[in-house]
């Protein structure tokens, strides 16, 4: 009974509802435009959302810990930009180098976030909002603010960006699945392992539930914070390299500003900003919905301005459901907050 019971709890109502929304939406789009139902669309959505899922896993961990990070896109840009910059300047053409430099920098910046959160004891939102600008500013002011186009991109990055895992012959031509699914799957597996199988991961969840109780249980909150913010920093850095490879260019002002879309995905996926609650499948589905909307408007013949409308509606609806559930629970306990 016990094993099955744990399993049962891994998939909850939120994920079920989200999966239904995704399915229904797909059916609807396919009904309007049958061209939607193609391997091409699927591979396209996977390719565009892979970067978001990678960093979304880091965000899940941070939100489970009761924190938030709005600086991860800044970190992703910092890490990948510096890596590419060095490769171009020093004429190093190695994928391992790109990832190593980016991850090293990303982790360091994440640790900086953790230390600031711990020392200043201010809401992590404010602190990472500050470091978002700080990191970006440091990069553009002290390192470089040049754009590197496809012509100067290290060839190994360009190749990585367009590489495919396998290809399928379809009527539209040859379709390939991006290799970015490899880092994506690795980040999902690693995050699953950390959250459900390691004491550190349980500590992160415990801290998100109740910092005081976690301390009493013997967890070192500083260590846990260093781990979570370091982890999202590292994943953001991985994502940065994947991103510049896919775009096949390095811009000093891309990515930053897109973090709220990922956070919206996590919240739609049922991750609670109050900490301690959130599931991997939820984050994946939440992000999938956003990218699905993003890339299917065309099939519905709608302009891209509808995108914000749909995402906003979803976000408000999902938050409203949470609020309604809380209200019902509070009423049961005779708490009248409204």
């Amino acid at each position: 009974m016990s094993e099955g019971a744990i399993q049962r709890r891994r998939v909850s109502a939120t994920e079920g509802i989200l999966a239904c929304v995704v399915l229904l939406y797909c059916v609807m789009v396919a009904a309007v435009n049958p061209a939607f139902l193609s391997v091409e669309t699927l591979f396209d959505i996977v390719r565009s959302s892979s970067t978001a899922v990678i960093v979304g896993m880091g965000l899940l961990l941070v939100m489970l810990s009761g924190g938030i990070d709005v600086s991860f896109m800044s970190i992703a840009l910092f890490g990948s930009y510096v890596a590419a910059y060095l490769m171009i300047r020093l004429k190093i053409d190695s994928l391992a180098f790109a990832f190593a430099v980016s991850i090293g920098l990303g982790t360091t910046l994440g640790l900086v976030n953790a230390l600031l959160v711990n020392w200043l004891n201010l809401p992590p939102f404010i602190i990472t909002l500050g470091t978002q600008n700080l990191f970006h500013g440091v990069m553009t002011t002290f390192i470089s603010d040049k754009t590197f186009g496809a012509g100067v991109m290290p060839s190994v990055l360009s190749k990585f960006g367009s590489a495919t895992l396998f290809t399928l012959k379809t009527r539209q031509g040859v379709m390939g699945l991006t290799v970015a699914v490899i880092p994506m799957c690795l980040s999902i597996l690693l995050t699953w392992f950390i959250v459900y199988r390691t004491m550190t991961g349980r500590g992160v969840v415990a801290m998100g539930n109740s910092p005081e109780s976690a301390r009493r249980a013997g967890f070192n909150l500083l260590k846990l914070r260093l781990f979570t913010y370091g982890y999202i920093g590292a994943l953001a850095a991985v994502m940065g390299v994947v991103y510049i490879s896919q775009v096949n260019a390095v811009y000093p002002n891309k990515l930053v500003g897109n973090e709220l879309m990922i956070i919206a995905g996590a919240v739609i996926g049922g991750v609670k900003d109050t900490g301690g609650r959130g599931k991997i499948l939820g984050v994946i589905l939440g992000i999938a919905i956003i990218y699905l909307l993003n890339s299917t408007l065309i099939f519905l013949g709608l302009s891209s301005s509808w995108n914000n409308f749909f995402v906003g509606t979803l976000l408000v609806a999902s938050v409203a459901v949470t609020s309604w559930q809380n209200r019902r629970k509070n009423r049961k306990n005779l708490l009248f907050m409204e």
Binding site: R9, F219, G276
Partner: protein, 512 residues
């Protein structure tokens, strides 16, 4: 002699200017239930924190299982089997009970990779040991207060507890839950564990403890076998004086028109067909157990939890009390059951709490607050209610239960309400403060306020209320007027009414 789990020898601990512990010596034998009794600030919690290694004593030594310590660290204390269950239980609300129980144990073992089978094995082993059936799969927040207590106990046991401190474990439990918990505690004792129980509820102290140690002003008054004390002598030793609660009798004219008249008030699943009247000068007691519908009713009268049907008349006019704003406008005040979350701004000072009900009256000019007048009112409240605090700016979250409750009373009495609804005003409050709160309530009623006094303690009902309603299973099952209350058998009669309804509930079967 070798049977002693704990020997505290002349422990002293001083905080800035306050002697929190003054040469306290205490022995605790294996397999006994030991109660620590004393008023707030008497040194009980300091003692517990010293034994569990959170505070280091200035003088004296602690002997645990024969090992002598001049000062303990929390890790040392845990290794000697000292476990403390604090009032907040320190559980993780969104984690399963199984994990809540086992996590500390696994950490203690230095586990890095979590094996869920092991988590369940540890949790099951402990729940089976005390013979309780709880849903280990449910998260803590989905579990009843009693179930959470059980989980906290199991968590302590899983860490090889030999000496278990429990700080007011019964404060939020229903009567049936208390019975079950006390049974579990006795079971622990039979298994050779020593339990140190801290409670303000004297009847519980007598029900389970073998020995009682009484603290007063940081000193130990004495150790007593519980059979040699009764509630009266215990209260005397705790406060150093004879505590007597004067009986309230209404002095206002009997024929006065009712201030509040409630007729046929119902809310599905909360209360059914409630009718009563209350006059100025009445202290109308509403006695009922947790879950009887008493709090739901109080909320409705204060404009929360709107009723489905029924009529409420205030000062002879039909009133639709649809919000607390409306209730306050009419002159109704509510002292909520849970003062911490609903009655106070815990992070703010006493001054702001007391004046929070009359900000409109303090406004001068363009909505600025008259700071001088505000301070005056706050200081007056502190003096009138004998709130013991360093100053009017002290955050109320740092006050003891009794003093915090006095702030709630002061807050509303400053607004001078016509009807004061008090929901369980003395929960978790020591005897001295209780007496002071009773005194205040009675003086309010003498000053022509009407008080609706909700409680589950018979003793305070009898001394404070001139009329009584008995509530059970969401209905008012009896109403006693002033004549009934003067009858010699009144107390017995009410006790039987409540006991009868509790038995019925028992028969219907209640699970933790």
């Amino acid at each position: 002699m070798s049977n002693l789990v704990l020997q505290a020898k002349a422990l002293s601990k001083k905080f800035v200017g306050v002697q929190a512990l003054d040469k306290v010596s205490l022995d605790i034998e294996a397999g006994t239930i030991h109660c620590l009794a004393g008023e707030n600030g008497s040194g009980k919690s300091t003692f517990v924190k010293t034994i569990s290694g959170i505070y280091q004593p200035d003088e004296g030594e602690i002997v645990l299982n024969g090992n002598v310590y001049a000062a303990l660290t929390p890790a040392h204390a845990m290794r000697e089997g000292v476990q403390v269950i604090y009032q907040d239980l320190s559980l993780f609300p969104y984690m399963s009970l199984a994990e809540n129980i086992a996590l500390n144990r696994l950490r203690l073992d230095g586990v890095k990779i979590v094996d869920w089978k092991e988590v369940w094995r540890v949790a099951k082993e402990q729940t089976e040991k005390i013979g309780v059936d709880v849903d280990l799969n449910a998260t803590a927040i989905e579990t009843s207060m009693a179930g959470r207590q059980i989980a906290a106990i199991c968590r302590a046991l899983s860490q090889d507890a030999r000496l278990l401190f429990m700080d007011e474990p019964t404060a939020a439990l229903t009567r049936q839950e208390v019975d079950r918990l006390l049974k579990v505690v006795c079971e622990l004792k039979n298994n050779g564990l020593s339990v140190v129980f801290i409670s303000h509820k004297l009847d519980e102290i007598f029900r389970i403890s073998d020995n009682i140690t009484i603290f007063r002003d940081g000193k130990k008054v004495g150790d007593f076998e519980s059979a040699r004390l009764d509630e009266k002598s215990l209260a005397y030793h705790m406060t150093g004086r004879d505590v007597r609660y004067p009986r309230y009798r209404r002095e206002a004219e009997a024929a006065a028109a009712p201030l509040l008249a409630v007729k046929g008030l119902s809310k599905q699943g909360h209360y059914h067909d409630v009718s009563f009247e209350i006059r100025r000068g009445d202290i109308l007691g509403l006695i009922g157990l947790l879950g009887s519908g008493r709090t739901e009713l109080a909320m409705s009268l204060f404009g929360l939890n709107p009723p489905d049907t029924g009529v409420v008349a205030f000062e002879g006019k039909t009133a639709r009390i649809s919000s607390p704003v409306e209730a306050k406008r009419l002159g109704i005040a509510l002292l909520p059951e849970d003062r911490g979350s609903q009655g106070l701004f815990r992070e703010r000072g006493i001054r702001e709490n007391i004046t929070s009900t009359l900000l409109d009256r303090l406004a001068v000019g363009l909505r600025a607050i008259d700071a001088h007048r505000e301070r005056e009112i706050a200081e007056e409240g502190v003096k009138k209610l004998r709130i013991r605090a360093p100053g009017v700016e002290t955050p109320v979250g740092t006050l003891s239960g009794g003093n915090a409750q006095k702030v709630v009373v002061a807050k509303w009495s400053a607004a001078n309400p016509k009807l004061f609804i008090m929901d369980s005003p003395t929960v978790g409050i020591d005897i001295g403060s209780k007496a002071e709160i009773y005194e205040m309530v009675q003086s309010f009623a003498k000053g022509h306020m009407a008080v609706l006094f909700i409680t589950d303690e018979l003793e305070e009902l009898m001394c404070n209320c001139n009329r009584v309603l008995v509530m059970a299973n969401h209905r008012i099952i009896a109403a006693l007027d002033e004549g009934d209350m003067e009858q010699p058998g009144a107390e017995r009669r009410i006790a039987d009414l409540i006991g009868g309804s509790a038995r019925k509930e028992e028969e219907r079967g209640v699970r933790i």
